[in-house]
């Protein structure tokens, strides 16, 4: 029966072939559509970074490289970018250190209060950004601290810590405990084991967490908007200039960040692969 069916394949009506092909590749077609949806605004942003737009970058007026040659051409754009980078770096350093320490405590030790520690880490992630930002602003106002650069850094460290903890903890959990036992068997003391074995093994997780913290900080708008006062970060610049139409230079910076981040991620994967091979 089956054999006969196979033999008749060439004479199956075209419609049936098409529908069979769709049936088999449905999930792939769906994935292609999904990726298209994901990339439409990215391509749009990239394309309009080459727009010879003048002040308002709403309608396509012609191709130019001027915006890429002079990314700081629009007023304030690079000041805002500089603020975002500075805040991002500081927030990344502090949140990575604090978060990694917490991750080691929770991931490595059994102690009283471990589950409530987990809860304290989960809560900031389960709180809407607007509540985090607004409540922190109220606190600063109570203590007569003016919103600005450092309040923004503090706010960013606060919401990044949880994400660092979760990321590093996952890496610690995936470690093979026998590696540390082996180091101890070879007469390494606890400190040496930590420095020569544990830390290098957890390092990729810490690096990933730092990258995550930086991108969260760099892209944050809601919490920043509450705590930055008159200081303007890059997302705030984009938001406030949206009404007048954002300058094409903002598209240049957005696209450049995209290319840079993609490069870092791909390079990271290559390094990861080489480390695996050399092992």
């Amino acid at each position: 029966m089956n054999k006969q069916k196979d033999a008749t394949i060439p004479t199956i009506p075209f419609n049936a072939l098409v529908s069979r092909w769709f049936g088999r590749n449905l999930i792939r077609i769906y994935a292609v559509l999904g990726f298209t949806y994901l990339f439409i605004p990215v391509l749009y942003t990239f394309a309009f970074s080459f727009n010879d737009s003048g002040k308002s970058n709403l309608v396509w007026k012609g191709f130019t490289l001027d915006n890429w040659r002079n990314p700081c051409g629009a007023p304030e754009v690079c000041t805002a970018l500089g603020n975002s980078i500075k805040i991002g770096l500081l927030a990344t350093i502090f949140s990575t250190i604090l978060g990694t320490m917490i991750a080691f405590a929770i991931g490595r030790y059994a102690f009283k209060g471990r589950s409530s520690s987990n809860l304290l880490i989960f809560l900031p992630m389960a709180t809407p950004e607007i509540v985090l930002g607004a409540s922190l602003l109220s606190l600063f106002l109570v203590f007569h601290i003016n919103p600005g650069f450092w309040p923004t850094v503090i706010a960013h460290v606060m919401f990044c810590i949880s994400f660092v903890v979760v990321t590093v903890k996952a890496r610690i959990a995936s470690l093979d405990p026998r590696l540390e036992q082996a180091a101890m068997d070879l007469y390494a003391n606890e400190f040496a084991t930590f420095r020569r074995v544990t830390l290098p093994l957890v390092a990729p997780g810490i690096a990933g967490a730092a990258l995550l913290a930086f991108s969260l900080s760099f892209d944050d708008f809601i919490i920043t908007n509450f705590n930055s006062g008159t200081l303007k970060t890059f997302p705030e610049f984009v938001y406030t200039s949206a009404a007048r139409g954002i300058p094409a230079q903002a598209n240049v910076i957005g696209s450049a960040m995209f290319i840079l981040a993609l490069f870092i991620v791909i390079a990271g994967q290559f390094v990861g692969r080489r480390v695996k091979v050399s092992k």
Partner: protein, 286 residues
């Protein structure tokens, strides 16, 4: 003995700086928020001056005046979460099981759009769906929408924007839990004469449930408190509770009502999340 004692202390010493920080800049502000929410304006005082009265009247007015925006926030967030799940699940499934060698590359592609600032992407959507974009004229010319219909400044645009912006928060946890499934469990199901749909319903879906729970939470929570999508893609008729809180802080300078609204939002979300996690039965998430 002293060595053992200090060993007990190590985890606490590691926790101390981070937890001090979180206590000062997360717990304390929330307590302060609760306190501010029960303040009332000083009779005869200037605008922006309040006294602690421990009245809950702010909550009553905050809620009755903004019932509509509260309801809209939760409905929009729910729609965005369901849409994101519908888009992200097949995507994550395709990457986990059908991508072969392209797996890592596709995973990078899922995250890549989110390296472009989300405000730039949201504004891009506004322009793509706007009058000058190419979508509206095309849809009009083939008669799918009428001449007077617009796509921006609608609930549709707001929900679509939120779905788009929170998609990686859905895709990544789904992928993580799908990727962990041993393909042999699916083969076994097929060997036991289950068809594709039954295998999915009885094997794949239940095993990926932790990812579904994590993804829906990570999408729903920020969506419910969001005001950026509503501000850029919506209209005054699509205001969410986030927009109300934002304008209470910055335009009206009414901190007590804004605090009451924030606190209500947080409490509502926490209750929903707790109920949801209990129902879904994956407590290991927390």
């Amino acid at each position: 003995m002293s060595n053992a004692f200090s060993k007990v202390k190590i985890p606490y010493l590691l926790l101390l700086p981070g937890f001090l920080f979180l206590f000062t800049f997360f717990i304390l502000p929330i307590v302060n928020l609760a306190q501010t929410s029960t303040q009332t304006p000083i009779v005869g005082g200037d605008t922006g001056q309040y006294e602690q009265t421990l009245h809950f009247s702010n909550y009553v007015t905050a809620f009755t005046e903004n019932k509509e925006q509260f309801a809209r926030s939760f409905v929009f967030a729910l729609c965005a979460t369901i849409l994101a799940l519908a888009i992200a699940y097949p995507l994550a499934y395709a990457i986990a099981f059908k991508a072969g060698k392209l797996k890592n590359f596709l995973l990078v592609l899922v995250v890549a759009p989110f390296f472009v600032s989300f405000l730039l992407r949201t504004i891009a959507w506004k322009q793509i769906l706007g009058e000058e974009g190419f979508v509206v004229p095309t849809l009009r010319s083939i008669g799918i929408i009428s001449e007077s219909t617009t796509l921006t400044s609608t609930s549709f645009a707001v929900v679509m924007g939120m779905t788009y912006n929170f998609l990686p928060f859905m895709t990544l946890p789904l992928y993580a839990s799908l990727e962990r499934i041993d393909p042999r469990t699916m083969e076994a199901s097929g060997d036991l004469y289950a068809n594709g749909i039954t295998t999915f319903r009885k094997v794949t879906l239940p095993l990926s449930l932790p990812g579904v729970v994590a993804g829906t939470l990570l999408t729903f929570i920020p969506a419910a408190g969001d005001y950026v999508n509503a501000a850029i893609l919506g209209s005054p008729n699509t205001k969410m509770i986030g927009n109300v809180i934002e304008s209470r802080y910055f335009k009206i300078v009414d901190y007590p009502t804004a605090s009451a609204l924030s606190f209500t939002l947080m409490a509502a979300i926490l209750i929903l999340v707790t109920v949801y996690i209990r129902k879904a039965g994956t407590e290991e998430l927390v």
